[in-house]
Symmetry: C2
Subunit: 362 residues, 2 copies
DNA sequence: CCGGGCCCTGGAAGCGCTTTCAGCGTACCC
DNA sequence: GGGTACGCTGAAAGCGCTTCCAGGGCCCGG
């Protein structure tokens, strides 16, 4: 459409091949010039022009200069689509968020993952393309886009349940790295943080400081990160003889955490500690606890998960499980790029460590 | 390898083919089949297969069925890159944020813009691709990506100063719609909200309720949205004889708003009202005012801009200038899609109305 | 003087798709 | 019966690029 002028011009002439030198070809200076035109202007063949532009060897200094000048004069920019078709590489990878965009956008966790990804990308000539699930949209367009050759590979984060997407991508032969262990059986490498041990140490810590009625605000039941932190918490509680029935699920948001906390207070008014599976949920929980007049940490100790920037600024500062968020993004990126480079012997999965950070909320 | 595949496909050497599939095709079953192979399997020509797949007319029911079956059996998916090269359309548009990703990601304003964009996109078969500025990265890769034919058009939001990007895109013939009036002279359509009148009405409102020392926390000086709200505020103050020297700039974030508020209190301790050019900055300002012991609205009236979801939940609930955020995104999208469809007579710019929403903070 | 490198070059063959165009059979209407 | 219209089809010509390959200079050692 935007090159309609060039197209019709070419078609209008009942041209044979020999009509090439027509100034008609130049007339379309509005449309992006092609390599062909650059080559002609530089007085070389398309092959040489291509080599010159791509900095390949076996191009004389003179040819190189002439091509450079022609590129400058004509304002040439290589058509990436054509290049992709010829090379079968696009120079870009996708970050797929299986989560409604507006949800992701307000989560500081993802902002930091993204920063890590960009940092892992720097130096490579790769462009990052973000794809988010439109709320009501079937994610079919996604798979079509990704498998259609638009990108060289994909990072998929925030998987829910048995999301078929990774399977589709893998089947299509697209290199994929998952952020977080998938719940479904998928033959794709993933990077994860040690949610289990992190949650376990959080629970132990609460026991160690003498709490005897420990609740948890768990993550979604359809995400491994939610389930792993829940089982980690159970593991931490195991053998203490303390009940582990005070469990409510949230969706990792503040509101979700607040709602879960309200349910916990109603069902288990005697609780003296709560482990929230994300800092954001801990924020919501603490607001509810404050509103309910429970003092933190005297009456209720609170532990979060993530160690977001807000954790130390809360009142009281939040004890939480630190996870290396930027590192998480960076590692996924590294893993994908390495795979794209054809490196072999890459680990099928990578686990990043977590660590309890004690502050005043416990 | 290419040659081998072609050979076996042509004359169906079952032995060789299956052996090859067993040994090599393990990781990505077979290379994705091409339209050629589908056509052969369906017993039709490539042209007919293409028509069948794209739902074009002039295909017999029988052919259609056979192609569908072949697609199913072979697991064919059309190569979008090849299709793009042939059609010069990609079926996707970009949303470009001239802002470090982690910044954008934590701003609820963008989340809502995004929602609006998706809503404007629904029904069209377009994919949205997000591009954000990596912090330290030169945005050259951006322009290359966008002009390289990866997308059919671009929405560009959050422009700063004389950002050359829109100009580059327009020069390359890429349809572009800007979100917010550009400061530089760019020949691209834009959608904007009526920042000027919104800010003006905010100032007037503060005058109307009897304030006589009205300050403002303005937005960045290199963004039109910042400047327009500042001049709107000045306009609202004009003719009242009240000084308009109490101006500090922030970056639309809470922290920026808080810092600006501190500066205002230091330089103009007698202020009795403040107009913050964004709700987020108003939040920061109110925190500082609370901390400084100034009562809102008795001692200092506060007006924001945006009418984010948090505005009514603040204490006191924030008087603010409502802008139709989702509508903003939706309109940009509509404008771009219309342009892509070749509609003519489209307005070069569209202005959306704003409106003061009075709450308890004034 | 000749054979064998080494540079550099252009012709040409794709990459996988769409779309034009000419052609064919069938049906329909004078 | 011939003309026209219509539905369907496949050959072929691209889209703009990369890359293989053969070949032509040139310099070298023999």
């Amino acid at each position: 459409m935007r090159r309609a002028a060039g197209g019709t011009a070419t078609h209008g002439e009942p041209v044979t091949e020999s009509a090439e030198a027509q100034s008609v070809g130049r007339m379309s200076q509005n449309a992006t010039p092609t390599l062909e035109e650059v080559a002609r202007a530089a007085g070389v063949s398309r092959a040489t022009a291509s080599r010159a532009i791509n900095g390949l060897p076996y191009v004389s200094e003179r040819a190189r200069e002439q091509v450079a000048r022609a590129v400058e004069v004509l304002g040439y920019r290589t058509n990436q689509v054509a290049r992709s078709l010829a090379t079968k590489r696009t120079g870009s990878i996708a970050l797929v968020m299986s989560e409604p965009g507006n949800f992701v956008l307000s989560d500081p966790f993802f902002a930091r993952v993204l920063r890590g990804i960009y940092s892992g990308l720097s130096g490579s000539q790769m462009q990052l393309v973000l794809l988010m699930n439109n709320e009501q949209d079937e994610e079919d367009g996604f798979a079509r886009y990704l498998c259609g050759g638009h990108v060289d590979g994909a990072l998929v984060v925030s998987l829910h349940g048995e999301d078929p997407l990774p399977g589709l991508l893998v089947d299509a032969g697209l290199p994929v790295v998952l952020g977080g262990r998938p719940l479904a059986r998928v033959d794709a490498p993933y990077v994860d943080v040690d949610n289990f041990n992190g949650a376990s140490s959080a629970a132990r810590h609460l026991i160690d400081i003498g709490r005897r009625r420990v609740a948890t605000i768990a993550g979604p039941e359809d995400m491994s990160v939610g389930m792993d932190r829940l089982s980690g918490w159970r593991r931490g509680m195991a053998g203490t003889g303390i009940a582990t029935d005070a469990v409510e699920h949230g969706d990792f948001t503040m509101e979700g955490g607040a709602a879960a906390m309200r349910r916990l207070l109603r069902n288990h008014p005697d609780l003296d500690a709560v482990f929230a599976a994300s800092d954001l949920m801990a924020v919501g929980a603490m607001q509810v606890l404050h509103a309910a007049g429970r003092r933190i940490p005297e009456e209720v100790a609170v532990v979060g998960f993530d160690n977001l920037d807000i954790a130390p600024t809360m009142s009281p500062p939040l004890t939480t499980v630190r996870q290396p968020i930027e590192e998480f993004g960076r590692t996924m990126t590294w893993r994908l790029l390495a795979q794209l480079e054809g490196e072999t012997g890459l680990p099928p999965s990578i686990m990043l460590p977590t660590e309890l950070v004690r502050r005043a909320s416990t």
